[in-house]
């Protein structure tokens, strides 16, 4: 058994070492309290920040010559109805095509005040992604040039990806299954 353990540890190390390096850089570039809940699920460095800081961080990361995190992979919304005052969230995936570093940033904010700054001035790619997030979750991206629905019809009066809207009509009884909890 003994000779088999070191290779596994080495194989796991590079991502961990790289993530530690990136995190140290992040802390140097921005105020240390900018990032909370730092984790590495499946090797992808994830941190939570605030909506006040997100624009500055993403703009700073794009300009940074060392990390070169200059590619926005995707951004999407998420809804946690049980997190008081942090119900809605936006999740950004950034990628450095030079160093092959990926970074996931999250922000959470109350559903009653779903206003976050746009990053479409930094990345043109964010334009439609933010419209999609607005369409699905009702997140208002302030400063967005054209924040209207993109996939759903314009006169829709709710944001369908929120958890309070079930996929199927909850009053239907022909589909309830008492034994398997559907």
């Amino acid at each position: 058994m003994a000779p088999e353990t070191p290779p596994a540890a080495v194989a796991e190390d590079p991502t961990k070492a790289q993530n530690a390096l990136v995190l140290a850089l992040l802390h140097r570039l921005f105020e240390a309290d900018s990032f909370t809940d730092v984790a590495e699920p499946y090797g992808l460095l994830t941190a939570t920040t605030t909506r006040e800081k997100i624009h500055g961080i993403i703009a700073g990361l794009q300009q940074d010559e060392e990390l070169k995190l200059h590619f926005l992979t995707t951004l999407c919304g998420i809804h946690y109805p049980d997190q008081l005052n942090r119900e809605l969230g936006v999740i950004y995936h950034l990628h450095s095509l030079v160093h092959n570093i990926r970074l996931r940033l999250k922000i959470f904010f109350p559903i009653a005040d779903p206003v976050v700054p746009t990053i479409s001035d930094i990345y043109s790619a964010a334009n439609w992604l933010e419209r999609e997030t607005y369409d699905f979750y009702g997140v208002i991206f302030s400063g967005h040039p054209n924040l209207i629905r993109i996939l759903n019809v314009e006169d829709m009066d709710y944001h369908p990806m929120r958890k309070e809207y079930p996929v199927e009509d909850g009053t239907r009884e022909d589909k309830t299954d008492l034994f398997f909890g559907r």
Partner: protein
């Protein structure tokens, strides 16, 4: 940014809405500048899919364009929140339906990453073969239709015959042709049959001649080149800013390929080149796709030559259905079958992002699991949804006929665009 400064954004969106309505009224011709509004789509024979573009035309030149999308939006991300993992595969089929196996297998790999399942080498190689076949069929469609849009119908007819043969191989492997639902979480649903191998080998022998003929017809064809060279160029910086991936980004000169940068399914075992263009114009995109077809053939040949022996699926009884015969005979198999089909097996808590190189770019799955039988949140990074944003910018200043060619060369698939 202070939150106070964000006040009044509702009004901004209302204004934006009103403004867009102004733009959208089809009869609003601006006679003072002699501009004409032209509705290109939603159902136009030259756009191969449901795309609407409202163009302002100054004579033959396009002054501005507003794309409207969402005509075949099916709320896949919402539906996915109610389905067990194995039922989501059929949703992925219907995104980029020109290369469904890549979507299916990319999704399986995402789930395997979440579950920590390691797939045996043989299954990985079979997956590589199928994904590269899918890439070839995707590029064949895009490039041959580009020919049709420039008035060259012949190439399309030659290549569609080859695509048909690829679909026959799919049929042997998974039973379906277009919406393949190929593979399972943990591997493939069955091993490559002798018939599938024979068809594959036959096709690998015959296809290069057809492809060469297609290239001879197009690559240095004066008429074709006049239509596509310098049409719709995009610089590497702009392409990156717009989130381009796949052949469109590589045509602009950036050698980003998920298969090389983050290898999955044993792509690191194969030797192949990443073709790149220089100007990112329609001609570069066409040539890059043609070259990628040759590289995909190289990969398939290597995978077939070195196809390892062994099982074609992982030993993951909680997620991989037992063989049907065993279900009738063994209690354990029956229990697993029942639990999987009824979706009674919980996944670990966690979040995963997994990307594969799709037919037209980086196809990513962001899966958030809260430990239940279905995803808590599933977001698809659809490459063409992201890069189609650049279309108005690329089309402005060109003529209508060029705009059609640009759209065609970007390989925008309506199913993926609208998800």
């Amino acid at each position: 940014m202070a939150i106070d400064a964000l006040e009044g954004t509702r009004q901004i969106t209302e204004e934006a809405r009103a403004q867009r309505h102004d733009q959208l009224v089809p009869t609003l011709n601006d006679f003072s500048q002699e501009l004409t509004t032209l509705n290109l789509g939603p159902t136009h024979p030259a756009t191969h899919g449901i795309f609407q573009n409202i163009l302002q035309m100054d004579g033959e030149r396009i002054v501005s364009g507003v794309p409207t999308i969402g005509y075949i939006h099916r709320a896949f991300e919402k539906i996915a929140e109610r389905r067990p993992f194995y039922q989501i595969t059929t949703l992925t089929d219907r995104m980029n339906y020109c290369s469904s196996p890549i979507n299916n297998l990319g999704w399986h790999m995402t789930v395997e990453k979440l579950l920590g399942v390691t797939v045996p080498k043989r299954a990985q190689y079979i997956r590589v073969i199928m994904m590269e076949l899918a890439r070839i069929s995707d590029h064949l469609i895009c490039n041959s239709i580009l020919g049709v849009d420039t008035g060259a119908f012949t190439g399309f007819l030659y290549l569609f015959q080859e695509r048909e043969k690829i679909y026959e191989i799919y049929e042997e492997v998974c039973g379906a042709r277009l919406t393949t639902n190929m593979g399972r979480v943990g591997g493939m649903e069955r091993d490559l049959t002798p018939v599938a191998l024979e068809k594959l080998r036959k096709w690998l022998k015959e296809f290069p001649a057809v492809m060469r003929e297609f290239e001879v017809l197009f690559n240095r064809n004066r008429i074709f080149m006049d239509r596509v060279v310098n049409v719709g160029p995009i610089s590497a910086e702009k392409a990156l800013n717009y989130g381009f991936t796949g052949p469109n980004l590589r045509a602009a000169g950036v050698d980003y390929d998920v298969r090389v940068m983050n290898p999955y399914s044993s792509y690191e075992d194969f030797e192949f080149d990443i073709p790149v263009g220089t100007k990112g114009d329609t001609y570069d995109r066409f040539i890059v796709r043609n070259e990628e077809i040759w590289q995909s053939l190289r990969i398939i040949n290597q995978a077939l030559e070195n196809l390892p022996e062994g099982p074609f699926h992982a030993d993951a009884p909680h997620f991989y259905l037992p063989p049907k015969e065993a279900v009738y005979k063994s209690m354990e198999a029956l229990i697993y079958h029942f639990k999987i089909v009824m979706g009674e097996i919980d996944a670990p808590v966690g979040e995963v992002y997994h990307a594969v190189e799709g037919g037209n770019g980086e196809l990513g799955y962001y899966l958030v699991s809260d430990g239940g039988r279905t995803p808590y949140r599933l977001h698809f990074r659809r490459p063409c949804f992201i890069y189609y944003q650049a279309y108005p910018e690329m089309a402005v200043g060109t003529t209508l006929s060029d705009a059609i060619v640009i759209l065609s060369s970007m390989n925008v698939i309506a199913g993926e665009l609208d998800a």
